[in-house]
């Protein structure tokens, strides 16, 4: 480990099987706070499964996943999010028929407006909250360079902008730990130039990022730490230079 701080996210001995297939098997790694950790490995290594396990979309057969000192396994996805871990999806899953602004608003905190009783009994407070939420949402859109698109439907955005939107909406939640599932997939070189700096800026804002990535160059450039997953197990973890230069790992990764 490069840092001596206690990890913010700690995965220990996690296993999950589907029928006879062990998607994740005795997986253990740490995520250090305020750093970018890259989760890499060949296809089918279990990376998205790990995300699903952390965020409560899948149950584990064994092991523990702790956020600081809270156990995450067994919690439903919305609880995991409330505790501070939020994720994007490989297939984005934007609310396509809603506007860009609305997509981000759904990340903002609006407990009064979302509670039916307070909505009616505390109408002025609800209105004030909505105003504040809109301001915050616009700030987030500004940060991501999407302000001009605020009133457009999410489905009408270009793909790189949709990728930015999926990051924007989780950023709006103020959750400290962001899980990005292939944030650069399907992007050309120019678009990469928009996305990659944003990921760095997230960390500058104090966020912790765990990202799944296939592009080895990007991993070296972006990550502070790398975790190499293969057949559901962590084969190596350390600084990118160490991992990317290891011939044995490269062989596994490229299937040579």
């Amino acid at each position: 480990m490069t840092a001596a701080r206690p990890p913010i996210l700690s995965v220990r001995g996690v296993a999950r099987a589907f029928g006879g297939i062990r998607a994740v098997d005795d997986c253990s790694f740490d995520v250090q706070p305020r750093l970018i950790t890259g989760l890499i490995g060949p296809n089918g290594a279990g990376k998205t499964t790990v995300f699903n396990l952390i965020t409560g979309f899948l149950g584990a057969d064994r092991g523990t996943i702790r956020l600081r000192d809270r156990e995450l396994l067994g919690l439903p996805p919305h609880e995991v999010q409330r505790l501070g871990v939020v994720r994007t999806f490989q297939h984005l899953r934007l609310w396509s028929k809603m506007t860009v602004l609305e997509n981000v608003l759904l990340g903002c905190s609006t407990p009064v407006g979302e509670n039916v009783l307070s909505l009616f009994l505390r109408a002025p407070a609800a209105r004030a909250e909505e105003r504040r939420a809109r301001e915050h949402a616009m700030e987030v859109l500004e940060f991501f360079g999407l302000v001009d698109r605020a009133r457009e439907l999410a489905e009408d955005l270009a793909y790189p902008e949709q990728k930015l939107l999926s990051m924007a909406r989780i950023f709006a939640t103020d959750a400290p730990v962001l899980l990005l599932d292939e944030p650069t997939s399907g992007l050309d070189a120019e678009s990469l130039g928009r996305i990659v700096p944003m990921v760095r800026r997230l960390v500058e804002h104090g966020k912790t990022v765990l990202l799944i990535e296939h592009n080895m160059e990007l991993i070296s450039e972006l990550s502070d730490e790398v975790v190499f997953l293969h057949q559901g197990r962590v084969l190596a973890a350390g600084p990118p230079a160490e991992i990317t230069r290891d011939p044995a790992l490269t062989e596994i990764y490229f299937g040579v």
Partner: protein, 295 residues
């Protein structure tokens, strides 16, 4: 105003409330319920019994109706919505069947098939609402109230969450929304409003019996919502108007009574199929995003 027209308008008002409330489930949450007639019936019976057996006034009866309706819905929603929407369809069917069985068989309470006669007319602030056109105002007032409540819900953060759930439920969960709880809340609100319509009905017709609250009725109310257009709030109201006009029009065609009832059902069934194939968004469909932000 002729008594005939007044009656028609009162029923449009009551059905508008039923359609608007069911639309919260079907149109805005994507959950299909086959039990709305049962909820309507629960409201009618609860309110009628509150008046007949407990001597409660109009408002008291309506509150009892809304509470019992919401409770019945919660009983079914809580176990089934935890699992999946299809389970709710089956559970709602079950609720419809059981509630009707209660109306027909718990004769000590409900008088069974014979029904409950002699339900008092509403007494509002010392004035008994007796005239047909007075009732039109009352029904219209409640329809507007229901519409206002639905509108406030839809245009709030809560409504935004509802739409997100309908668009992509998994993304909603990942963003911290307790999807199951939201659906249960919507089901309860929908039922409270539907039961309120039942209360209005009971005190208007002054006699209720189980046959008004059957599965056929549930399907009819769903048809109103679907045809009128579930994406705009005005849709269910239009649906109520159009579908209540159809039987009246049929009367002019001098169709024998035995054939009239199934004939109406055939028209509703055919309309549903045609609309789903040709225009699933209904008569007034469109512009959900536009409506939501009040544009």
């Amino acid at each position: 105003m002729s008594a005939y027209l007044a009656h028609f308008l009162v029923m449009v008002g009551i059905y508008a409330i039923l359609a608007l409330s069911l639309n919260l489930l079907i149109g805005y949450s994507g959950i299909f319920s086959l039990a709305h007639a049962a909820i309507y019936g629960i409201g009618a019976y609860a309110s009628a019994l509150a008046a007949l057996k407990l001597g409660l006034g109009f408002w008291g009866g309506m509150m009892v109706a809304a509470s019992v309706g919401a409770f019945a819905s919660a009983l079914v929603a809580i176990p089934s919505l935890r699992v999946a929407g299809d389970y709710y369809v089956v559970a709602s069917f079950g609720l419809q069947v059981v509630v009707l069985a209660v109306f027909m068989n718990w004769t000590d309470l409900t008088n069974g098939h014979a029904g409950l006669p002699g339900i008092p007319r509403p007494n509002l602030f010392g004035r008994v609402i007796d005239q047909p056109f007075e009732y039109v105002f009352l029904a219209a007032a409640f329809a507007v109230l229901t519409w206002a409540i639905c509108r406030r819900l839809i245009q709030s953060a809560f409504g935004r969450v509802l739409q997100a759930i309908r668009d992509d439920e998994i993304a909603a969960q990942a963003m911290g929304k307790n999807v199951v709880l939201v659906k249960i809340v919507v089901a309860c609100i929908s039922s409270a409003l539907g039961a309120m319509a039942g209360s209005l009905y009971a005190h208007y017709i002054t006699y209720i019996n189980p046959s008004s609250f059957s599965l056929h009725e549930s399907i009819f109310i769903a048809t109103l919502v679907i045809l009128g257009g579930s994406e705009r709030l005005a849709g269910p109201v239009v649906g109520a108007f159009v579908l209540l006009a159809i039987p009246e029009l049929l009367k002019f065609l001098a169709i024998p009574d035995t054939v009239a009832a199934p004939m109406r059902q055939i028209i509703y069934g055919a309309l549903l199929i045609v609309f789903m194939l040709v225009r699933p968004e209904g008569i007034l469909g469109r512009a959900r995003a536009a409506e939501r932000s009040g544009r």
